[in-house]
């Protein structure tokens, strides 16, 4: 077995219905589980950017990238290791307001984690934490004993350390 690693796949595309299906089908066909996926407008007008995290071998990710690039409405696709990217995830934690006042310890957890309080209401309050997976995970573990009403984590968003020559690619075409 070849060594598997986390790869962040960045895909610049046209904004078309069905493209998400087309891209995810390539992973499905190879029986690969998508760890996280995020799609949003990119730095370029009318161009979208998918960020997908998968754990695969280097050999496979190279083939996957060419197969993604082959899709008509994909402008360009790139892959990077964790070392080559700056990446973050956001997480939201919904906790009963009662526990904030009854359990002193919670206040320390929030302070130490550098999390932000987004909303406070008489019934619940919401904390937001952006960081690496390990950090949002740690806060989750710390808060869980006090009863989390809801917890959600975003897909990875990332930018690469190296410039991506997407504008040049577009100009060439």
């Amino acid at each position: 077995m070849e060594k598997k690693e986390n790869y962040t796949v960045s895909i610049y595309t046209e904004n078309n219905i069905g493209l998400l299906n087309r891209i995810s089908a390539i992973f499905l066909k190879r029986h690969i589980n998508i760890d996280t996926i995020n799609s949003s407008p990119s730095e370029l007008d009318q161009i979208y950017r998918f960020v997908i995290v998968v754990k695969v071998s280097e050999k496979d990710i190279k083939k996957i990238i060419t197969q993604i690039e082959k899709q008509i409405e994909v402008i360009a696709a790139f892959f990077h290791t964790d070392q080559e990217t700056i990446f973050q995830e956001s997480a939201l934690y919904k906790v009963k307001s009662k526990s904030l006042f009854e359990e002193r310890h919670i206040q320390n957890i929030i302070k130490n984690s550098h999390a932000k309080i987004v909303t406070v209401s008489p019934e619940f309050f919401v904390i937001e934490k952006t960081g690496f997976r390990e950090e949002t995970e740690k806060l989750y573990k710390d808060l869980a004993p006090y009863g989390l009403l809801q917890f959600v984590r975003s897909g990875r968003i990332s930018v690469t350390k190296e410039p991506l020559n997407i504008t040049e690619i577009l100009n060439e075409k």
Partner: protein, 561 residues
């Protein structure tokens, strides 16, 4: 002036010079069929008997003519019946545009009558697909569809059009697509890759060329022939590459792969340079990749970047359209001959001739062999016919033994191996090349998968010749059961109907041949007939196709018996 969306579809087809379409009507596509009624003098609509038949007919049409095949179907079951043919066209790179009707846009997602998510279903098996909900989109989207289907590495495109969009009135303006910013069908050729490839070719001692359908799709048969004649390199074909180079060309050393010829398979592991031209190293060609051409340097001439380094790691990739890359290579390579090396192919192929081919073509046993039928067809057609094959033993035998002088003469389902392909594909092939003789060679199993297309032959009168090689078995599966599953013939024996009576029911002249002495004369009679003709040949029930590379084995471990 405004026209209806359905008329706009037809205008688009005319703009793309489409004069022949294959289809089947139904509720969601009725506005289109109604508009078509006014254009019967410009577009010939062939009413097939099952939508799968429409896709294979369009494929056959495209493969014999080089043009884009067009298919029309209704929503729901009409659309889902296209799936097999679309998947086949995708894996065999056949340009095809399928237009399906869809429920009205206000009903989308409501499980309306005959609503199916055909876009979702066909996403992984199309080069591109799109759903039109407004008549104003029709001209841009269809022009994009044709552009995408035929450019670069060709493939199938599906356009789903809601019923209300077909009724809606729209202005019509057609502009041919020539460019899309996210799509690069003609990648620029790197001069370095040409230089590197030529350096390897010029210093090779035992070079070997593998060619595939890319040569045909690029219309580069002449360039390819020039290359091999200048370099003197022995060349072998994949089954989709068959007929790109005349079968009796002195440098044509035969067929690659599982049931190919002995020489080219074994010598793949002895050459010092492997040059792949428009082929994709399918596993049926390579056998076990861990033992595939490890000793050789490899050059890959290929238009699709996703094929480069997919199965086989290459030393030099020459990315581009063969029509452009081959001339650049021809210019830089030295004129050479490899007589001794070529002799090795001949020696091994002679062993195969003595052990396998002789008994196939000139059998001493009582029952007719598939090989001798193909041999007699070769004699009668002088290698000038188009041969369309189905899938199974008869396909391998036909590809092994058929003689071809001209390109686009071998039409078969390679990548998907779709039984039922041949009969409708032959209908399309004949319509795409009306001047040529078209012979379908089909097994008794596959014939019954699309047998209803005899009705299309009856209605159109298209003069295809049909040869069913009847072994009363799903022969290829039975062969594997014999060789690898202890002869446990699980569900492979067939109780067959009276095929001749069926053909007669469709008013097709027909013969059943079971004696060797009747074969030659009846094949001649079939070829001489200006009409459709059906011939059933009763062949040995348990004959096997050899040589064979068992699955998981190396190409050099080819079995001769």
């Amino acid at each position: 002036m405004k026209i209806s969306g359905s008329e706009a579809i037809i205008k688009c087809l005319l703009e793309e010079n489409v004069d022949l379409i294959y289809g089947y009507p139904g509720g969601a596509i009725m506005p289109f069929y109604d508009s078509l009624y006014n254009f019967q003098d410009k577009i010939n609509h062939v009413l097939v008997r099952h939508e799968q038949g429409a896709t294979h007919a369009a494929q056959g049409y495209s493969r014999s003519s080089g043009k884009v095949g067009v298919v029309i179907a209704t929503s729901g079951p009409g659309a889902t019946n296209l799936v097999t043919g679309i998947a086949d066209a995708q894996i065999d790179s056949t340009p095809m545009v399928c237009i399906t009707g869809q429920v009205a846009s206000n009903l989308l997602g409501s499980d309306a009558f005959q609503e199916t998510d055909i876009i979702g279903i066909t996403t992984p098996i199309t080069k591109w697909n799109y759903q039109i909900t407004k008549a104003s989109e029709i001209s841009t989207i269809l022009s994009k569809a044709f552009y995408i289907a035929r450019s670069g590495r060709p493939g199938p495109v599906l356009i789903d059009i809601t019923k209300d969009a077909q009724f809606e009135m729209t202005e019509f303006l057609y502009k041919k697509h020539k460019k899309l910013r996210s799509y690069n069908p003609k990648p620029e050729i790197s001069d370095n890759s040409i230089t590197d490839a030529c350096a390897l070719i010029n210093k090779a001692k035992k070079p070997f060329i593998l060619f595939g359908q890319g040569v045909i799709l690029a219309n580069a048969e002449e360039e390819f022939k020039k290359l091999i004649e200048k370099t003197g390199i022995p060349s072998a074909w994949t089954i989709l590459g068959l007929s790109a180079l005349a079968t009796d060309h002195p440098l044509n050393v035969g067929m690659l792969g599982m049931h190919g010829n002995y020489g080219p398979n074994v010598l793949t592991n002895e050459c010092d340079l492997l040059i792949a031209v428009g082929m994709r190293f399918d596993d049926r060609v390579t056998g076990n990749l861990n033992y595939y051409a490890k000793q050789a340097k490899i050059i890959h001439l290929e238009i699709d970047p996703a094929e480069i380094n997919k199965n086989v790691k290459v030393d030099v990739a020459v990315q581009g359209d063969l029509k452009n890359t081959l001339p650049k290579i021809i210019e830089k390579v030295e004129e050479k001959k490899y007589e001794k090396w070529l002799e090795k192919f001949r020696e091994l192929n002679q062993i195969e001739y003595d052990k396998v081919i002789k008994d196939d073509l000139f059998p001493k046993k009582e029952k007719i062999t598939m090989g001798e039928v193909i041999h007699q067809i070769n004699i009668a057609t002088k290698g000038n016919a188009i041969i369309v094959t189905d899938v199974g033993q008869h396909q391998m035998v036909a590809c092994r033994y058929a003689k071809f002088n001209e390109s686009k003469s071998n039409i078969t389902s390679g990548g998907l191996g779709t039984m039922g392909f041949a009969l409708p594909a032959a209908i399309g092939a004949k319509m795409g090349a009306p001047k040529r003789e078209v012979i379908a060679v089909i097994g008794d199993g596959g014939f019954q998968m699309t047998i209803q297309e005899l009705g299309t032959i009856l209605q159109t009168g298209v003069p295809v010749k049909i040869v069913v090689l009847n072994n009363d078995f799903l022969g290829m599966v039975r062969q594997w059961q014999q060789l690898f599953f202890d002869k446990r013939y699980s569900s492979t024996e067939m109780v067959n109907p009276d095929f001749v009576a069926i053909a007669n029911g469709y008013q097709i002249e027909s013969e059943r041949i079971s004696k060797r002495e009747d074969l030659k004369e009846n094949i001649q009679k079939m070829i001489d007939s200006p009409n459709p003709f059906f011939m059933e040949v009763v062949v040995g029930k348990e004959d096997n196709v050899f040589p064979m590379i068992p699955t998981g084995e190396s190409v050099s471990n080819m079995r001769l018996s």
